[in-house]
């Protein structure tokens, strides 16, 4: 399933980008090869600065020599001009060729732009690959912090007190884990962090639980039933307090959303549990590992 979703995202994305590019080629969205005629005037008697109009928008430009025109752009310039400029490596200036020029009229040719969508898609892919590493590296500190605190809480027995509160529920959710196994400590800490809306504590605690689940897993390449259940619980995010990001975005408005959020998240969590239980029953009945 994950293989299909993953490939689907890539294939769908690339096909769609290609489609848009072909449409752009047919309608010539970027006016490739079209000569623009514009009235122009020099700015304050200067010999190389002038103002002109492109796509009905007034712009300023420098004449570099008699053949090249340096058109200045800013964030408010027409979007298509910005795209062309970006594709040519400079988002603040667009270099156009002067075809002809008389006292009032200027004819210019802008650089051509082809396959713009595909280019930006590949660019986004590479940017995201870099960002993924940054994200993972950023996890190191917070990971180390919580793993350290967890170690203290484990050794001091503090976690056992937390576990006792939720033990019956956890034993039902994870029937195949030996009772009293330390993984229950990590799972309950992870759930507590989720419930309290502490996203950046929940991840390290959840990873710790995953590692312990992996130590109980027979097939180290394939997720066990317990891992799937645990992941489903995490993605459906049991929570009583709204996440910090939402508080930041919505401000005080967030307080009236608490009850709807609790209701909705209960639905998604119950669904997660039911679906995971059903799948695990089906897979075990067939006596084969369920392939993704």
């Amino acid at each position: 399933m994950l293989n299909k979703i993953w490939a689907g995202l890539i294939i769908l994305g690339l096909l769609f980008a290609t489609g848009q590019d072909i449409q752009d080629e047919i309608t010539n969205t970027y006016n490739n090869g079209v000569i623009h005629n514009t009235p122009y005037s020099y700015i304050e008697h200067s010999s190389n600065q002038l103002s002109l109009t492109l796509h009905n928008v007034p712009l300023s430009a420098d004449i570099k020599n008699d053949q090249l025109l340096h058109i200045h752009l800013n964030t408010n310039s027409p979007i298509n001009l910005l795209k062309i400029a970006r594709a040519n490596g400079n988002k603040n200036a667009l270099i156009a060729r002067i075809i002809s020029k008389n006292d009032t009229q200027l004819s210019i040719l802008l650089p051509e732009l082809h396959w713009h969508k595909l280019r930006s898609v590949t660019e986004a892919a590479f940017d995201m690959a870099k960002f993924a590493v940054k994200l993972a590296i950023g996890l190191i500190g917070i990971m180390a912090l919580w793993l350290g605190l967890m170690q203290i809480a484990e050794k001091s027995g503090l976690i056992n007190h937390v576990v006792k509160l939720v033990q019956p529920l956890l034993y039902w959710l994870f029937p195949n884990i030996p009772k009293g196994h330390p993984v229950f400590g990590s799972i309950s800490m992870n759930m507590a962090a989720n419930i309290l809306g502490l996203g950046n504590a929940a991840t390290p605690l959840g990873i710790k639980a995953m590692q312990q689940l992996q130590s109980l897993n027979d097939n180290k390449n394939t997720a066990s039933d317990e891992m799937c259940m645990f992941l489903a619980l995490n993605t459906s995010s049991v929570q009583l307090l709204p996440p910090v990001t939402l508080i930041a975005l919505m401000g005080t408005q967030v307080s009236e959303l608490i009850i709807p959020i609790i209701l909705a998240t209960s639905c998604s969590t119950i669904t997660a549990i039911v679906v995971a239980k059903l799948y695990s029953r089906r897979c075990n009945k067939q006596d084969t590992t369920c392939n993704s």
Partner: protein
């Protein structure tokens, strides 16, 4: 609310350290011992995260999402709920930053009091970035075959979205 959230963390840290001291644990040594795995785990996650995030980036940058929304809008009209919230429903399992962006944009265009923003916010608050969590959690233990975890996660998301729409339309009417 904000105060409660900002109090929990320091109290938790205090409780862990104090309880450790009471139980005569070598707190500093245990902390360092536990923390040493942080680096390895983060590095293990990298390939999984790159794989997942780059595929999502291609999908988002291509504008395929807008097309899907275009297809789903008649359905929303038919079922009588604001089509704008579908954006949140589709993007929430894919990217966390993307869904924050969508929510901010909806707040900008519709205002915090609108039912659209409320539904989107409840969707945001009631589920997680499923594919990211999947990549991080399974990446940390080097699980490649995720079995039925995706199905369970995505179905839970879907149930959460439907619930968010129904609950909000009922609760705020």
């Amino acid at each position: 609310m904000q105060q409660l959230s900002s109090l929990i963390l320091p109290l938790l840290i205090l409780a862990i350290v104090c309880y450790g001291l009471i139980k005569r644990i070598a707190v500093y040594e245990e902390f360092v011992d536990g923390a040493k795995d942080g680096f390895n785990i983060a590095v293990n996650i990298i390939p999984y995260l790159v794989a997942m995030l780059f595929a999502i980036a291609i999908f988002r940058a291509s504008g395929a999402l807008d097309f899907i929304l275009l297809l789903l809008t008649p359905l929303a009209d038919l079922l009588n709920f604001p089509a704008e919230v579908i954006t949140m429903g589709v993007i929430r399992p894919l990217t966390g930053s993307g869904s924050v962006g969508v929510l901010a944009e909806l707040i900008n265009t519709h205002g915090e009091d609108s039912i659209i923003v409320k539904i989107a916010a409840v969707m945001f608050g009631s589920t997680e970035t499923t594919l990211y969590v999947l990549a991080v959690y399974f990446g940390a233990v080097k699980i490649k075959n995720t079995s039925y975890a995706v199905q369970a996660g995505l179905m839970a998301d879907f149930a959460g979205f439907i619930a968010a729409i129904i609950v909000c339309l009922w609760y705020f009417s």
